[in-house]
Symmetry: C2
Subunit: 204 residues, 2 copies
DNA sequence: GTCTATAGAAGGATAGAC
DNA sequence: GTCTATCCTTCTATAGAC
């Protein structure tokens, strides 16, 4: 990607995460990116909406990689707890400015811009299916993996809302405990399913 | 409350839930409320921000009553599942327009308006403590009640984000299942604590 | 690809009559 | 408390030179 274009997207991602889509002005973006105003419309002929969609997909991909960083096929329970602890640290250390780069925009545009809604939906779908794969690797039954991924991501997103509004990281800890419980439950079911399958094979 | 003022707040609440704070223009509000433009500044000398704060508190109180409707001291697990099922119905029946009236605004203003942030924080605190009381009534240990309430509300908020963005109610079902699990776990701990206390009394 | 300037619409807010 | 008109700012977007 062109250097200036990348700076613009990066600056936009920061601003979206802090203020959302409607709260971020195009002028503020180019200023923050140190980019010429005309460059924005050169790289994004579709204007703010096109830039917004690309930014959503870009930061969605960046954050999606975090799932790969935290879930590496070790103990799923520990990894889940570490994941939420890291989120708690981030939100606190940023003085409750940093949260999810997608959620604010997603809620703002869900009913007002189909282009942007689709972009946020694709990011969430990527996160969910990516997490589900990791969970299966970790011992969760395939049928349980997607609902579990949805629950984990919902807990994270919801806790970010509470934590940022109330300026209190403990919400992410409470959500992390619930996530840990959900993972343990899914692993228990996975272990039972494998035992049952083994017993069935023995009978056959 | 004065009739016109109430109409303005009600219309603002609808618009906030659908488009958020920054996405809603004051002109749109008075138009939607069928109210004279000047009335807005008569009732809310502080302008959009004051109106926004009052709207957040008003719809927060309305939605808080839903907790009392769904959690009436019956079986907590059933009540939790009914609560999430109702949320799923609402979001689907509204064609994924209706979600939480606070979350969008909360994320938008968390770092840009202290007045509005405090309003959203107070609503969330009300919801959490209100739910925690209900959970204790239902058999959850006092120390477990608040974290459980935070987890339940996080699940609901996060699932609303996913459901609206992806136009799929199943996320609320997955979140509801996790909520149900968390409640069952808390009830198990509550029952055990009561057994232990009983045994301790017997020994004494 | 970048510059300056500006159009044109929409935003929040106010004045002053009634 | 409500009416109409309007101010000023900010916003997105474009024009046209370089």
């Amino acid at each position: 990607m062109h250097e200036t274009k990348e700076r613009i997207v990066g600056a936009t991602a920061d601003l979206f995460r802090h203020q959302g889509y409607n709260g971020t002005a195009v002028k503020q973006i180019v200023e923050s990116a140190g980019a010429p105003f005309a460059s924005l419309y050169h790289f994004f002929p579709g204007g703010k909406e096109e830039l917004g969609a690309e930014t959503v997909r870009w930061s969605g991909a960046i954050y999606g990689q975090l799932l790969d960083v935290f879930f590496q096929g070790g103990d799923l329970v520990t990894e889940t707890e570490t994941f939420f602890a890291a989120a708690a640290d981030t939100v606190r250390d940023s003085d409750y400015v940093e949260g999810c780069p997608i959620a604010t925009v997603a809620l703002e545009v869900a009913t007002t811009s189909e282009v942007l809604r689709v972009a946020t939906a694709e990011v969430f779908e990527d996160w969910i299916s990516r997490a589900a794969v990791r969970f299966v690797d970790g011992g969760v039954e395939p049928d349980d993996a997607r609902p579990l991924a949805i629950a984990i991501i919902s807990l994270l997103e919801g806790a970010f809302v509470l934590a940022r509004a109330m300026r209190d990281e403990s919400h992410l800890q409470a959500a992390g405990a619930a996530a840990s419980l959900a993972v343990r439950d899914a692993l228990k079911r996975g272990a039972k399913a494998r035992r049952d399958a083994k017993a069935a094979r023995r009978r056959a």
